[in-house]
């Protein structure tokens, strides 16, 4: 499964904001770590804000703060804001032949598994998995978003 750059950025931004309770960061601070422009990240934060997952803090030292429940918000909740995960189901509805319906059924199985996996990982769980890994150098974090579009390891 491949995620768009905006989707990956949204997940990374939330992970940064949940690294410490009540932490708030500017888009410039997050953008610097992942090697992306503040302009691009601001659009992502706007989508997250509309979904109630982040809130903006105004004034000097302001930025964004996580506003959701890290133990209840899943990766699926975030990914669905940026990706259309119903594409295969939509195609299946218009299938006319047995061949098309059969292929859609197989692709639907893959989709179901992807949705179940994304829906089973909360932000808190992902944060825990990140924290268990030894710290990596900053370089691979930057290339993870700006140059490589493939999805992270499952």
């Amino acid at each position: 499964m491949r995620l768009q750059v905006s989707t990956r950025l949204a997940i990374f931004a939330i992970l940064e904001l949940t690294a410490r309770d009540g932490r708030h960061l500017s888009v410039a601070e997050i953008g610097e770590k992942y090697g992306v422009s503040s302009h691009h990240l601001a659009k992502v934060m706007h989508v997250l804000g509309r979904a109630g997952l982040v809130r903006s803090i105004r004034g000097a030292g302001g930025g964004f703060q996580f506003a959701g429940n890290a133990r209840r918000t899943t990766l699926l909740d975030v990914v669905q804001l940026f990706e259309d995960l119903t594409a295969v189901e939509g195609a299946a509805a218009g299938d006319a032949t047995r061949e098309e319906r059969t292929l859609s059924e197989v692709l639907g199985e893959i989709d179901d598994i992807a949705r179940a996996t994304l829906g089973s990982i909360t932000i808190a769980t992902l944060r825990k998995l990140v924290d268990r890994r030894p710290a990596a150098n900053g370089q691979h974090l930057k290339t993870g978003v700006s140059r490589r579009r493939s999805s992270p390891r499952p």
Binding site: R71, D112, A116, T117, T122, T125, K128, R132
Partner: protein, 159 residues
């Protein structure tokens, strides 16, 4: 068994006793809405009394003062070897916590206790199976660090 490393110090995990069975049956009936006392009696015979070095039926109870204890939940698992080509591995096939006592580390204490038993028996991997739509168990096992394994469960309707 040695007592588990307690995630929550108010929880004690121990081997099942015959006196626990009514609590297990009552909890399962409330959670699943299906009464199956005969099944649980069979499970107790096989997992509570036999081959205790590789079968584990554990109970979580609350520590209230020094004596009285309240039933909080249970976990059952065993070590299986070479099925599906798998080397020896610990399987967890039942875990349930009293609904009113959830989110207090009881499930974690049970899982940690059975993990310790599996490790002591010499296996280094633990597995379970969860229905895709069973959201809460899935969230729980994921939060405990369990990831998708190398097997895919397959099935078909029998005509």
């Amino acid at each position: 068994m040695q007592e588990a490393v307690t995630v929550n110090p108010a929880v004690r995990v121990r081997r099942v006793k015959a006196a626990d069975l009514p609590h297990v049956i009552a909890l399962d009936t409330r959670v699943t809405k299906i009464a199956k006392a005969e099944y649980w009696n069979g499970i107790f015979s096989r997992y509570g009394k036999q081959r205790s070095d590789e079968r584990f039926f554990l109970i979580a109870e609350g520590r209230v003062g020094q004596s009285a204890a309240s039933f909080m939940g249970f976990i059952i698992g065993e070590i299986r070897a070479w099925e599906f080509g798998s080397s020896p591995c610990g399987w967890v096939f039942a875990l349930s916590v009293e609904p009113k006592m959830r989110l207090h580390g009881i499930g974690s204490a049970l899982l940690e206790a059975i993990s310790a038993e599996f490790r002591k028996a010499g296996v280094s991997k633990m597995r379970t199976m969860v229905a895709r739509e069973a959201h809460l168990p899935m969230l729980f096992f994921r939060s405990e660090g369990m990831m998708a394994g190398p097997y895919i469960q397959l099935e078909k309707e029998l005509d």
